[in-house]
Amino acid sequence: MALSKEAQTKLLFANAEGRDLTKLAEYQNIGGYKSLKKALKMKREALLDELLTADVRGRGGAGFPMGRKASFLPKSEESVKPIYLVSNADESEPGTFKDREIIARLPHMYIEGCAIAARVIGANTAFIYIRGEYLTEFEILRDALEEAREAELVGPNVLGSGWDLTIVVHRGAGAYICGEETALLESLEGKRGQPRSKPPFPAISGVYASPTLINNVETLATVPKIIEIGGAEYAKLGVENSRGTRIFSLSGNVVNGGNYEVELGTNLRELVYDIGGGIPEGRELKAIIPGGSSVPVLTADEVDTALDFDAMAARGTMLGSGAVIVMDDRCCMVQLGLRVAQFYMHESCGKCTPCREGTRWMVSILRKIEEGDASQGELDLLLSVCDRILGNCLCPLGDAAAMPVASYVAKFRDEYQRHIDEGGCPFRGESTLDRVMAPVDQHHARIRAEIEVPA
């Protein structure tokens, strides 16, 4: 355990231990809102330069450099339309729970980051789109915002600077797709959360058809630190193309599940074994999902991989949202594929045919394989369906189903083959994911009951 503390490089969660940083006074005791004061005295170009020098990449999943994204927006004084900041707090990629902890424990750091980012782009209004299920976190954020307003850290004439900033917290209502930035904007405008065609990109035409910068919670919570220590100092942390620290959400068959902030480039083995305490009950490691359920899987042999964007790309996978899901040797990879496909089928918005129909086909074929009713040709059909989804939709949700499932078949082909050859699951009911009831199954069960039992 001693090693686990040393192994962590804390930036966001530095000084957070034993303090209630949800309170403004406590946050100010550790230097809170000093970066905002500093930022208000700096020119916007200089602020943007710090973000560009820091080379901080988005922490939501896509990993796009934050400074560059901000630089795509028109200058506020030249824009005929108002400029908006939107923060994506609709965390819902399976395995991810870091933004929730940031909001629950560091709400002021997050608000300060929102304020500085809004200042960079010259916005007077920021929207925080927080997932509807995060009720407790919403309340913490709302109370922190109220405290910040009373202290004139947000609101009219921020700290006497003459600059106004309104922050509106908008609650979602249960839809994974709203984590996709254009679906989020649609939802924020009061519509069904269906992705838009890009271009135009949000930097040009975002919410209310106005220039909009969209950033993840963790990305924005990092901004005060960057301004405090300077972009150049921040960029010394981590490795090339993956600067700074990241909060990894560790879950599944691991002793110490939880969020851990470590320097980018830390070895995945260290996270799982030294920090996470390894696999419980003396079981064997089988597979690891390194970046949320939408990314391709790593086998136990690939655990020695650095947690950085390039190292993961070299393994054919992604760092994604930083959600590390660990599976031990009791996990059936066909059941894993089925459960992942069921999730994306449930969450498909239905706009693009390959995703809407393809995820349904994936579920249907995977169920046949699991139940031992699939022919050899249907395994090929599954891969063909995945291939036809990939790259053929407006947003990445379809890809998020196809990529991981194709990787399970590629890396655990023998296991898929055994289901076909043996006419059923070789785990014989002993898999950890056996018979798991997904929401798609539950809805279908109810509809069937309604049809069979007339009033």
Binding site: P82, S92, E93, P94, G95, T96, F97, R100, T125, R131, G132, E133, Y134, L135, T136, V168, H170, R171, G172, A173, G174, A175, Y176, S187, E189, G190, K191, R192, G193, Y208, S249, L250, S251, G252, N253, G257, G258, N259, I289, S293, I325, M327, C331, L336, R339, V340, F343, H346, E347, C349, T432, L433, V436, M437, A438, P439, Q442, H443, A445, R446
Partner: protein, 158 residues
């Protein structure tokens, strides 16, 4: 003066946004809190307050899992069965609730007290199994905790 009617409260919500239509989700949430679910009347009320058709409001509501288009129990028990929770026994937790309440996932008890359903990833993956009870997370929940949770809700229901 504190706003009192649903109409007034929705107007107040709409004033926070550059375009009032943005208030449709918070307005639906308010209406659902009043009715317990979203009956046809709720869509008329929200539509009238925001100058939208009831059909539009229903179309929006039907997109999101947290809006209920049919009556639900007074208590909502939602068990996450996504991968991280499933790996550490979510199905066993769900089955414990099913046997304790005498309903299957997706159903409401006959007395209208409890709705039990499974949900997709709730965002508590490192502390599974996550169960959301009346929108507050309990984590981790093990099968042996289930009867205590149900008992607590029944006691509080008197």
């Amino acid at each position: 003066m504190a706003p009192s009617t649903l109409y007034d409260e929705i107007q107040e919500l709409a004033s926070r946004y550059p375009q009032p239509r943005s208030a449709v989700m918070p307005a639906l949430r308010l209406a659902q809190e009043r009715h317990g679910w979203l009956p046809p009347d709720a869509f008329r009320e929200v539509g009238e307050a925001l100058d939208l058709t009831p059909a539009y409001c229903k179309a929006v509501a039907s997109f999101y899992d947290m809006f209920h288009l049919e009556p639900v129990g007074r208590h909502m028990i939602e068990v996450c069965t996504n991968i991280s929770c499933a790996l550490v026994g979510a199905q066993q937790v769900l089955e414990a609730f099913e046997s304790e309440l005498g309903v299957e996932a997706g159903e409401t008890t006959e007395d209208g007290e409890f709705t039990l359903r499974t949900i997709e990833c709730a965002g508590g993956c490192g502390y599974g199994t996550v169960v959301s009870v009346d929108h507050r997370y309990r984590e981790p929940v093990r099968p042996e905790d289930v009867s205590g949770i149900v008992e607590e809700l029944r006691d509080g229901a008197e």
